[in-house]
């Protein structure tokens, strides 16, 4: 039985927001059916952030916090982002992406830049687009994940 992945950067509540964001950005499709959890998105983001500069990590965590509470502060809903249904989450993301406020647009850009590629970097997911990982060399993330979870 594998252990739960020991997150090194993200807290449990931050992992919940990453999951919610990934589920909104990468919903089940016609061809690509792997879920963000199945693609180890939160784990991959955490592993990436371990190597990121402190400022990058801080900015990412701030962006998660802002996203989580934004629906409440903007009176879009009385619930945090991670507890909204997927369609309302998408409305929230679109309000940031189309915002005139530089900060919202750029916070979303930062979140998407780490979370969405983490999903499509998974071999199973990218394989469903027709892409084949080049050279057949092993993933360093998966090696770390296996070591940390005892899988």
């Amino acid at each position: 039985m594998p252990h739960p992945y020991p997150y090194k950067v993200l807290s449990a509540s931050e992992v919940r927001v990453v999951h919610a964001l990934a589920e909104t950005c990468c919903p089940p499709g016609q061809i690509i059916k792997t879920t963000p959890a199945g693609a180890l998105v939160a784990e991959r983001v955490d592993w990436f952030l371990e190597a990121a500069p402190v400022e990058g990590r801080t900015a990412f965590r701030f962006a998660l916090l802002a996203l989580e509470w934004s629906p409440v502060f903007r009176l879009l809903a009385l619930s945090r982002f991670s507890r909204l249904p997927p369609e309302k989450r998408e409305v929230q993301l679109k309000s940031w992406s189309g915002s005139r406020v530089w900060l919202w647009r750029n916070l979303l850009k930062l979140l998407m830049a780490l979370v969405v590629p983490a999903y499509y970097a998974d071999d199973q997911v990218s394989g469903q687009t027709g892409f084949t990982p080049p050279g057949g060399r092993p993933s360093r993330f998966l090696a770390a994940w296996k070591e940390r979870t005892g899988s």
Binding site: C25, I32, A51, G56, Y120, S126, G135
Partner: protein, 524 residues
């Protein structure tokens, strides 16, 4: 434990205690400038030590995976950003081999009009196409620089050729430093076949073959000066694989020092060590070739990842300051090329094989600056000016036209929430000047932050790339160029490093620091 006096690659874990080395030439940085200078000088019989801040990834350890390579081989995990209007990511390599390990391998000689500009505006009359040709030729022969073959140019090149032909634009395969390329498409994430002739598989092994020692995980910190000569470099060595153990101190004493940290880190090091600062030019005059890309959907299968991602160009508008070059990415980072969200984005990613992506870069007249943060990182400031924004608008329209001429159904410009379904729609949506924040930009070519020139009051190094202020100190990287080049700079950096190595060799011989076979210098 490895013997530190023998040639080879050394990692932080190989240095178990504070260490002092003696050598003839100490090179700081192992990218396009440092590796070439090191190999040339080692081949001339000099004892060379290379100090590299980043880790050593043997070629067989490169796996071509975008997300992982970004994390492990890019400076600040690829999160380096130039602050300004707009914020522009400036990805650069931080590993043995520098950015050459993670670039596209595109090679251009220094354009004649750029040389002319240097001669005219900066008084650099030593330079001409003829005088530089032997250095370019030497590098090109060593790295097997040749055009991308039809077998490896990939599906996006096929589309660009078709569109550019219809519009009468000049286009051709790019020249690259690759030998035996199979078009695996991972150039920017470490070539998994070692076909791309990055410094990791070309000049650095050659330098080692001539006795050089290359120290990874070692960050150059401080130069020790006596009068106007440097006599030692102090470096901090990340010790142990996890980097959590206390760092070791590495002191390298040498007769000549070559700084090749790249245009981002070189000014940081110079400012920290107060070298060249009297000119007022250290960290100034930054140009970055701001770039952008467009994505387009086709009915046909493109399979953009099969082939060289940057294997083709449209150079029709080069004299205007616009170069169009390939920019395809694997699905991981490529997913960011599409501005859509949620289910729409997913549906588009499911058609990834129908997607073509191509980019362009602007030969910028905008300039920025670099100063050190307290923790030693580079604080980059850069604003795009109105002239360059006009070029962005023009570049977007030209590439949109090429895509539609090639049969695109939809084109996604690098402008938020915008999709073009026809050329008329593109013209009407872009019938006004763009603001910098409107456009998604990237930059891969920081240049100019320690520029060369004749006058010590307005330049940091002389045309031989020797410091105006310190007798035995040279700068050999992209920071020395007085203007934007307008083309990918790696080949020019290598050619200038080859030329600078001759100057360093002459200096060492005048100094009497001549290495003779069988008479090894005391190395520790």
């Amino acid at each position: 434990m490895k013997e530190l006096t023998s040639a080879g690659f050394f990692e932080g874990k190989d240095i178990s205690q504070d260490t002092r080395l003696r050598t003839e030439v100490c090179v700081i940085g192992s990218g396009a400038g440092g590796a070439v200078a090191a190999a040339e000088l080692a081949a001339l019989g000099h004892d060379v030590v290379v100090i590299e801040e980043g880790p050593y990834f043997p070629p067989e350890y490169l796996n071509g995976r975008d997300y992982e390579t970004m994390r492990d081989l890019y400076r600040e995990a690829g999160m380096t950003v130039a602050i300004g209007k707009p914020g522009i990511p400036v990805p650069a390599g931080k590993c043995v081999g520098g950015t050459t390990v993670i670039n596209s391998g595109t090679c251009f000689r220094l354009p004649a009009r750029t040389i002319e500009k240097w001669r005219r505006d900066h008084g650099l009359r030593d330079f001409s196409e003829e005088s530089l040709a032997p250095y370019f030729q030497k590098v090109e022969e060593k790295l097997g620089v040749s055009p991308v073959t039809p077998e490896t140019e990939g599906g996006v090149a096929r589309i660009i050729r078709r569109g550019a032909d219809k519009l009468g634009y000049s286009h051709h395969p790019l020249q690259r430093n690759a030998k035996g390329c199979e078009g695996r498409g991972t150039c920017a994430f470490g070539c998994t076949k070692s076909a791309k002739q990055s410094m990791l598989v070309s000049y650095l092994p050659e330098a080692i073959g001539h006795g050089a020692r290359i120290f990874a995980d070692s960050r150059a910190e401080r130069l020790l000066l006596s009068g106007n000569r440097v006599f030692a470099l102090e470096a901090r060595v990340k010790h142990g694989a996890d980097g959590h153990r206390p760092p070791r101190r590495l002191e390298v004493r040498a007769d000549a020092f070559i700084l090749a940290g790249g245009a981002m880190m070189t000014p940081v090091f110079l400012q920290k060590n107060r070298i060249g600062v009297r000119s007022g030019q250290v960290g100034k005059n930054l140009t970055i070739h701001p770039a952008s890309k467009l994505a387009a959907f086709f009915d046909e299968d493109v399979y953009g990842w099969k082939g060289v991602p940057q294997g083709y160009c449209i150079d029709h508008f080069r004299d205007e300051g616009l170069m169009f070059e390939g920019a395809f990415l694997p699905p991981g980072l490529g997913s960011m090329a599409l501005a859509s969200l949620g289910a729409e984005h997913k549906a588009q990613m499911e058609r990834y094989k129908n997607l073509a992506v191509f980019g362009f870069m602007v030969s910028d007249s905008s300039t920025g600056s670099i100063r050190p943060y307290r923790d030693g990182r580079a604080a980059i400031r850069y604003d795009v000016n109105a002239r360059d924004m006009d070029l962005f608008r023009r570049g977007i329209l030209i590439l949109t036209e090429v895509f539609f001429a090639a049969g695109a159904k939809e084109v996604y410009p690098p402008i938020h929430n915008m999709t073009f379904r026809s050329m008329d729609e593109a013209r009407s949506l872009l019938n006004h000047p763009l603001r910098p924040d409107d456009v998604e930009m990237l930059s891969f070519h920081p240049l100019g932050t320690a520029r060369m020139g004749l006058d010590p009051r307005s330049s940091v190094v002389d045309p031989q790339l020797k410091s105006h202020e310190v007798e035995n100190f040279y700068v050999v990287d992209g920071s020395i160029f007085p203007t934007s080049l307008g083309v990918n700079p790696q080949l020019t950096i290598m050619a200038f490093a080859t030329r600078a190595a001759e100057a360093v060799n002459t200096y060492l011989r005048q100094l009497g620091s001549v290495y003779k076979a069988g008479e090894k210098l005391a190395k520790s």
